[in-house]
Subunit: 210 residues, 2 copies
């Protein structure tokens, strides 16, 4: 007498992302995940290959969220700017996903599509393809690093920590008590990087654009 399945692959993966967000990567175990779904751990293997398969699927969901609602505009600067902001926004929402993506980097089928799309915008705007690739990789590097520096749980600095480091202490006056990138820092850095890319990697602009 066949009964309807109690769980499904989407249900498993949704719960996996929720578990990651709520309890962190340590809690994202097969047994804990099964428990949250009201089932025993072996039954998960009907829907995912193994624990690594769960991780891959979660990374894929993150990449999907990064690209959510995005459609290319045709302007190289808007494209790179948007890419960096989407990275930052998404990892702010899922800070526990940062270490996950780090040694299982965002290089899956879905992310290849988005790279191709961005590269397309740049080459269509007249960029040599090598320059376009470098611009994308530089922007991604900055976005990832800034996200990391902003999101990672910095150790709070005690007053003893600061007592022997006067310049560091001065830098933190009126700031949060951890030495950490803010959203304003991120914005400023992004402008700085894109200005640099415009200067060093963009093709010569036509007179009309001046």
């Amino acid at each position: 007498m066949p009964r309807p399945p109690r769980i499904s692959r989407p249900a498993v993966l949704d719960e996996a992302l929720r578990t990651l967000d709520e309890e962190g990567i340590e809690a994202l175990s097969m047994r804990r995940l099964a428990q949250r779904l009201g089932v025993t751990s072996p039954s998960l293997y009907k829907y995912v290959r193994d624990r690594e398969g769960v991780f891959e699927a979660v990374v894929d969901a993150i990449v999907q969220e990064i690209n959510e609602g995005w459609s290319p505009t045709g302007s190289w600067r808007a494209e790179l700017d948007g890419m960096a902001r989407r990275y930052f926004r998404t990892f702010r929402r899922h800070p526990h996903a940062v270490p996950l993506v780090m040694h299982r980097p965002t290089r899956n089928q879905r992310s290849l599509d988005s790279f191709d799309t961005v590269l397309n915008v740049l080459t269509a705007a007249g960029w040599p393809v090598r320059n376009a690739a470098r611009a994308v990789l530089l922007t991604e590097s900055y976005a990832l690093g800034a996200t990391l520096t902003a999101v990672s749980p910095g150790v709070p600095l005690t007053s003893e920590d600061l007592a022997s480091r006067p310049t560091l202490a001065a830098a933190l006056i009126g700031e949060h008590s951890t030495f950490r990138l803010t959203e304003e820092d991120f914005e400023h850095g992004l402008k700085l990087v894109l200005d640099g890319i415009a200067r060093e990697l963009a093709p010569e602009r036509s007179p009309l654009e001046h």
Copy 2:
């Protein structure tokens, strides 16, 4: 009849870093580490608090290696440039340490010292302390992100992957088959970031420097 100890804290931590480099973070378990030291796992607890304590010590060793042989020069540009290059070089040597440092960031006593030192060089050169802090954080962000993008084990791209992404394929002509930052890209990006910092964050230079 007291015998000499078979192991020591330095021996444990050395072996921990070696294990990380050779077998990856998964293999850095208390039991495996003990086995490599020719001892059983409970005896490790005489030398480290717990597994997290091992991780902290390894991160500290990495931070130490980042700063190895460094003495400040007095030039802000040399300082930031050197900092970024040391990050890059060190994580190239210890790629498995990347995810470790990522959610247990390089923010310990030793790293606070180096931040204070770099900030000192900048403020001594006349930088407002807020500008100095932002410059350091931006350089760190870029260095971390670039290191990550260069070091992370990118999935090799099959010819089918490339068939439907023509621009991505073109970007990889004559390159390695993964979409990944090279050392040349890193150098170029670093120049670009430091030029931006010079333009946007450095104090007005005195006429003599022109």
